[in-house]
Symmetry: C2
Subunit: 600 residues, 2 copies
């Protein structure tokens, strides 16, 4: 590496007759070539070998290279890059399958306002094959959509909606079909009923070359089944009970979805029911309009050019949350050169960019929580208490914020201390456990690059007296609730470290850390106080009988009572601010306590 | 959570008249529904609320839900999930752009056997826009391919090739075009010449709805330029000089590509040339046939069904590496039920699966390194010495192995100690630095979930006397060389933790760790020995003059000489095995040394 002044004179200026930028209508200007060396003469297939400069005798022509140019389907891409869908490692692959089907079932049930009842059965077959049977009581899939829903990638009902869902890409279930195909050569089998007394069953595969569904063996009959059943045979998967395996995945799912009943039958025949803890379907989130904060210029152009509104002003008020007529007036003042009466489809990029910048200068009401359905403090507390029986618990639910594209989100964070909190580490001791969720779906993998862990890492735990949190019996529960979860990959196991999301997790973590700190240090103070009090009390009797003798006045019981009162007052429990009593209340309490003790 | 015996009697068996499996030609059998509760009567839109069981009064029908069913293009998918392409955070987004264009340039040059000369210029424009100008001296793109190469995802020359390349997905450059579009509304501008004295320039955009290119402002002229130039204007990017920024990226690229000359002009006008250190284009890797180890059943079916060979046996010998006629004979013995004379396209899944299992029982020659072009021990050593000036260095290059799909790969690992090794940590001290590469392209992000770091984490450094490696001035260089790099996401910043890859990295790390251990502990032993020797030598003079007196015989100079010889022999430097002298050499050396010292 060598730093030099501008040596552009070293570079041949190329042989371009006129300045390119003059010939071009383009806004972008290219420069004369800087990479051509005078010796590797261009256009001739190498001439002589000049000292120090290698020849290009064997140079291969561009035309030859491009003779291999091909186009590929998204299914071929994900077949080749199956690890991007979560299919890497046998255990993880099985968990990915369970994850994809179960999140689809939960989404479908919630959308149809049905209390989910999901049945998962995993069987070991010969030749290390595994059969996965997943049945739900959801709305089912209509016959005309079943092929594309289970056998075509990037197709579905969720991709374009502005509402919180677990699934969002239209890849997951078809990924499962693909994985059955490439590992066992078999299609998946499905049964669906939409509640009209008709049931159908069929086999579904993906034509990977064209990313289109292949349906076979269609059978229809009448019967009382509403829901979707998937049966698939897979290889390159493995069942075990490790922390990354389906059982733990379903347990975590149950934790974050107390309204769901999940039954799992393991290969050994053991059947476990994660019982429904809460008999209400979470209210269906309402699709929301994007909030002006975080809308990109590109979004604004797209929305405006597809708008049927006649004026830019009415387009703004009718397409965005929180834009009122008075806000449009503010925008007019900030962007005097924009005509707010023109057709929205005539909005130019520069104008849209100016509007986006103006959005950032205006005070807005926070985004509505309408499209978001958090689990809620109460439910999280119930669930954590139920599972961990902790000594202390604190939950923080932050107000909605937006990230890029005006996407509303909020974070929920809980901290639990002692009881069964924490996880066993490889050294046999219990340490910090972080349970990560996105829209209630557990994230078991790829913790390293996840916004949740990023936030945990950046907290200065020392400030909260939790310096050694890695080795404390602490469980942190983190849930991102968002209209769109920015996963780092299609495998949906880590949340991209978007600044706004990490920041919100940080705030929430600080809140619960502060609470835990207060609890632990209060406990320590109380213990210290108590032991000092006891130590001093030991001298009371002696002192009370000696004092009258030394002073020549007073009587022992009276002095003993006063001494105890003094000690109790000095080492009174200090309540934390939130529950602090008034000075009078404290005095009254102390008095009562002292009297009670004396009576003993 | 509650464990119960099989309570299937609790579940309504459904109302299916005949066993489904009897009606079906499918190999898969479904079970009677298990998720239907008798009260939430199916087919009727909820009847009565029965105690404890919630009604489904507001249930929404499947048909309503599916009215929103849509299909989407892969470009729309990546627009919505831009973070999957590495577009998250302003600094990372800029590095991603530089990465995509520069790796394409390097690939193209290598493929065309041209010594790469790459020029990167980054300019700050008003409104926080950034212009990126990247020019190479590669083979250029023929006019008829330029739209698809830069404006269509999943199209390119690399996806299907069985040869090592940096790029492999046909997404990167089009991702850049998309990012220009969605952040500034502008197409990218390009200039291309393929060396036939014709140059063209045009603007390229992606139609995101259809994932197809939009070319505009095409201009053609004659001139001497061969290569590709891209000029793009981007927003939501930011230039700085942090360790994750383009400058460090290019520095790392230069480190792993000593045959490339890379010039970078920063926004402040500073121009840095990473000079070419090695004047030879790496030999073009040869496309290889897949190795039988690691071929999946699905691959085998695909290859065989597209084969033009007339017999299964000749299909095997002509399509796979290392399968000879005698190996086919071994296979015949292992799979007696398979007819090796039948047409390959008649191969059934079960047979293919049996063949794949048989592959695993046969002894094979390791895969050829033909399709792989490692940087090589010598080049890595040169590069690390050049940049880090370390006190000690050790490089391990492992033999090729395969992972899933018979994909050949190998790993290269280097360790450097002291000098400028290590990186400054946030506490101001120097600690372990890991430089990660995949096919010579630096990986700056997502270290957490990467196979490289996974391997580093699992090493018991304690065993190598490197317990505190996190706080040592050590740089570890890791390069995966592979025909297909299993990236965790399309952003290509982390290698999926495939078992075989992690394992190879582990072995290589152990090798270099052992070397470093030997060096450091040798150094410590030497130092200890030296100080003991000095301590004892202090007594030599005194002892040499006292001994003749005590013994009544001998003379002081003689005794002194002998004593020194004894001491020197006892504390002789122990050379490590690789440079160990013969016993005679050691004696000679010692003698010389003693004599020299005595002469002093």
């Amino acid at each position: 590496m060598e730093k030099t002044e501008d040596l552009s004179q070293d570079l041949v200026k190329g042989d371009v007759s006129a300045p390119i930028s003059d010939q071009l209508p383009s806004q972008l200007k290219v420069e004369p070539p800087k990479t051509q060396s005078p010796i590797t003469a261009v256009g001739t297939k190498s001439t002589a070998i000049t000292a120090g400069v290698p020849a290009e005798i064997d140079k291969i022509e561009s035309k030859e290279i491009f003779s291999e140019f091909r186009e590929h389907s998204v299914a071929e891409f994900f077949k080749k890059n199956r690890q991007m869908l979560g299919f890497s490692g046998k255990i993880r692959s099985l968990t990915t399958l369970v994850h994809e089907y179960v999140t689809n079932s939960l989404d479908a049930c919630e959308e149809a306002k049905i209390l989910p009842n999901i049945y998962v059965k995993i069987e070991n077959l010969p030749d290390q094959h595994v059969r996965l049977y997943i049945e739900d009581n959801g709305p089912g899939i209509p016959k005309q959509f079943v092929g594309r829903a289970l056998g075509q990638m990037l197709a579905g009902t969720k991709f374009h909606r502005f509402v919180q869902q677990r699934g969002q890409q239209g890849i997951g279930a078809t990924g499962g079909t693909m994985y059955a195909q490439i590992t066992t050569g078999k299609p998946v089998h499905c049964r669906s009923g939409i509640g009209d007394n008709n049931i159908f069953e069929c086999d579904i595969a993906v034509d990977l070359k064209t990313n289109s569904p292949k349906i076979s063996n269609m059978v229809e009959y009448t019967g009382k089944y509403r829901g979707l059943t998937i049966v698939g045979e897979f290889s390159e998967v493995k069942y075990d009970k490790s922390e990354y395996a389906p059982f733990e995945y379903l347990k975590a799912t149950a934790l974050a979805n107390p309204h769901a009943q999940i039954t799992v039958v393991e290969p050994n025949g053991e059947r476990t029911v994660f019982e429904r803890a809460h008999n209400e379907v979470p209210e269906r989130p309402k699709p929301a309009q994007p909030h002006p904060l975080g809308v990109t210029t590109d979004d604004l152009i797209n929305y405006s050019h597809h708008s049927k509104e006649r004026k830019l002003s009415s387009f703004l008020t009718s397409n965005f949350a929180r834009i009122s007529d008075s806000k449009v007036d503010e925008l007019r003042k900030l962007c005097p050169s924009i005509n707010f009466d023109k057709m929205p489809r005539e909005l130019k990029w520069e104008e849209a960019e100016a509007l986006v910048n103006a959005f950032k200068q205006i005070k807005w009401i926070a985004p509505s929580a309408d499209p978001l359905r958090p689990i809620g403090k109460e439910q999280i507390e119930k669930a954590l208490k139920n599972v961990l029986k902790p000594e202390f618990i604190s939950i923080s639910e932050r107000a909605p914020k937006v990230f890029r594209g005006g996407v509303p989100f909020l974070v929920e964070v809980g901290i639990a201390y002692k009881g069964k909190s924490g996880r066993e580490k490889s050294d046999g001791f219990v340490g910090l456990d972080v349970k990560r969720f996105a829209n209630r779906a557990p994230l078991l993998f790829d913790a390293g690059g996840c916004a949740t862990m990023e936030a945990v890492k950046t907290i200065d735990w020392n400030r909260y007296g939790l310096k050694d949190i890695e080795n404390m019996p602490v469980t942190i529960f983190m849930n991102l609730v968002s209209v769109h979860v920015p996963y780092t990959s299609a495998g949906k196991q880590a949340i991209s470290t978007e600044e706004e999301i990490v920041e919100e997790f940080r705030y929430a973590l600080m809140e619960v850390a502060r609470d835990l700190d207060r609890y632990i240090s209060g406990k320590i103070r109380d213990e210290q106080r108590e032991s000092r009090k006891k130590a001093i009390k030991r001298y009371v009797k002696q002192l009370a009988s000696d004092l009258p003798y030394l002073a020549g006045r007073g009587n022992t019981p009276e002095i003993e009572k006063k001494l105890i009162y003094l000690i109790e007052n000095k080492y009174a429990k200090i309540f934390d601010k939130s529950t602090r009593l008034t000075a009078d209340e404290v005095k009254a309490a102390k008095k009562e306590q002292v009297e009670a003790e004396i009576e003993e």
